[in-house]
Amino acid sequence: MITIDNKGYYGEFGGAFIPEMLHPNVEELRQLYLEIMDDETFKKEFQQLLRDYVGRPSPLYLAERLSAHYNASIYLKREDLNHTGAHKINNTIGQILLAQRLGKKRIIAETGAGQHGVATATVCALKGIKCIVYMGEVDIKRQAPNVARMKMLGAEVRPARSGSKTLKDATNEAIRDWINNPEDTHYIIGSVVGPHPYPDMVARFQSVISEEMLWQLLDQTGKEDPDIIIACVGGGSNAAGAYYHYLNREQVRLIAVEAAGLGVESGESAATSVLGSKGIIHGSRTLLMQTPDGQIIEPYSISAGLDYPGIGPLHAHLIKSGRAEPVSITDKEALASAYFVSQKEGIIPALETAHAFSALEKIKYNSTDVIVINLSGRGDKDLETYIKHYDKFH
């Protein structure tokens, strides 16, 4: 059984390792999040926005040409069709409603690929709340279209200039901002990371993905269960959402796809479950890439959304307990999949999601298997990268 206790532990992973300055905010959330999320008017508002604003349910699409190529039944859960182009908005809609109920007047967020930043800027515009997004300087360069979108939506994008200048550092800066603004601010974390209750709260908001999969699969295949669910893992929110209602259905295989960057052994990688060890990152006891002295190692991946040296505590637990199978995919393999899927199915996936598609080349399965790939986002934001490498792959 996969469960979380009231201190936020999945097995030995989780908890809230935060400085005292954050305690009041995090404790307020911990005490109230379940109550607020269970409230009928909250649920109604959340579901209505997911339907009318985000465009849910997202389709579950049988990808026939991919299925023929890989000799299995491959379904794509189309989170790329959500408003703003990724799964991230499921969480930001939930958290903005929660922030309103907590009386917060100012929203901060971190972003890697910019998808979470855009999704946060979007819901802040929707509700007329001030929005500040921290983004690593490196990511600001490689995800320029999303930076422009955030500005267009009225958000302020603040560059994170410390460390590797990517997602980890943007998260540090957001946490520091929260410490400095303890009263009026809510921090919308973009993945199932951070101190309890964030991993659980974000997983619950994203769980709409697998909730829909249950009836969509029943409809299309006659069974609620697929054989395999594949999702990419940066912090792990799209994977958590796609796994959520199947966590305790042991017959469903869960594949967690991580970014190997230039190769797991290359020193330029973000394959946390292989390279990581137990430790604390961003307030959570989980798996992370670190030196023997506990200094956090700067990760690398071509994909800004997977370029993170940790994974959420749920995933650490799923992987260490054997419930989920980790797969590492290099930049090159992900790029190849992105071009392949684009031309096989007419869908340009996000670079993050391209990693999930590559897992089809690595895992063992049967021809009778029903495989769901969580298509976490669309590739518009990555066009510059795709065009740059296009000739090498054609």
Binding site: K7, G15, A16, F17, I18, P19, E20, M21, H23, P24, S162, G163, K168, N172, I175, R176, I179, N180, P182, E183, K278, G279, I280, I281, H282, G283, Q290, P292, D293, G294, Q295, I296
Partner: protein, 293 residues
Amino acid sequence: MVLSTGYWVTRTKNSLPNTHYPIPNTQKMSRIQQLFSEKKENILNIYFTAGFPKLDSTKEIILSLEEAGVDLVEVGMPYSDPLADGPTIQQSGQVALKNGMTLDLLFEQLEAVRNSSSIPLILMGYFNQVMQYGEQNFFTRCKNVGIDGLILPDLPVYEYETYYKTMIEEAGLDISFLITPQTSPERIKKIDELTSGFIYMVSNSSITGAKKGISDKQIAYFNRINKMNLSNPRLLGFGISNHETFSTACQYANGAIIGSAYINALNNTKDINRTTMEFVEMVKGQAIDAKIL
């Protein structure tokens, strides 16, 4: 039978809550406790990042601080991702790590310092560093090299009580927890119970080095804490940088902690001893003299 569990019995007998923990080696006070038993005001605690500005600056810094009349020294273990720290301490940590500072090296340096210094030493760092060293190893090593106390800002009270309290007590180390203007009275009482040595009173909810000066709102908070009659002495930290802020802090607490301002002073210095003497003189200014008179 369920009702005969120890928990139930304790509750029904309405016995005293288990809040008194024996300190090992009771006849011998720790250096920190000794200090606070002898000196009640104007206590100056200075923080520096080990390995900054140079890898081997540790000894010279500590001896200079002691010579300058500082009461306690807080030794920062440089960390890649110091969440509670502002840019000054972050950058000093990055320099220190680039210089090659490691925990083992730091322990060696501190062991060497202990031969010629008796100033209370407190290690400050992030809990991941302790975890990776091995918690028990870390605490034992601290004790063996002559460290007196710990400040681990991201070690939560719950985890401390559940897993580490006994280990830290058995190693004979003091531990300071933080309180902020937002910490609730019940939690402050709990923190007072768990603290040994002194409470680290964060002057304003912020990261280190973030805010300058002390406002009326902060003073109301200091007064509120003073009225609580806590059992531990309190040092005020965050935003204390000069004579003015130090003397204000000393009016409302037993003393103060200075970090970023000292790191800034050390930046680009050619003479650590001289910079330190001048810095401490600047901070103490005439305030101490005035108080003595």
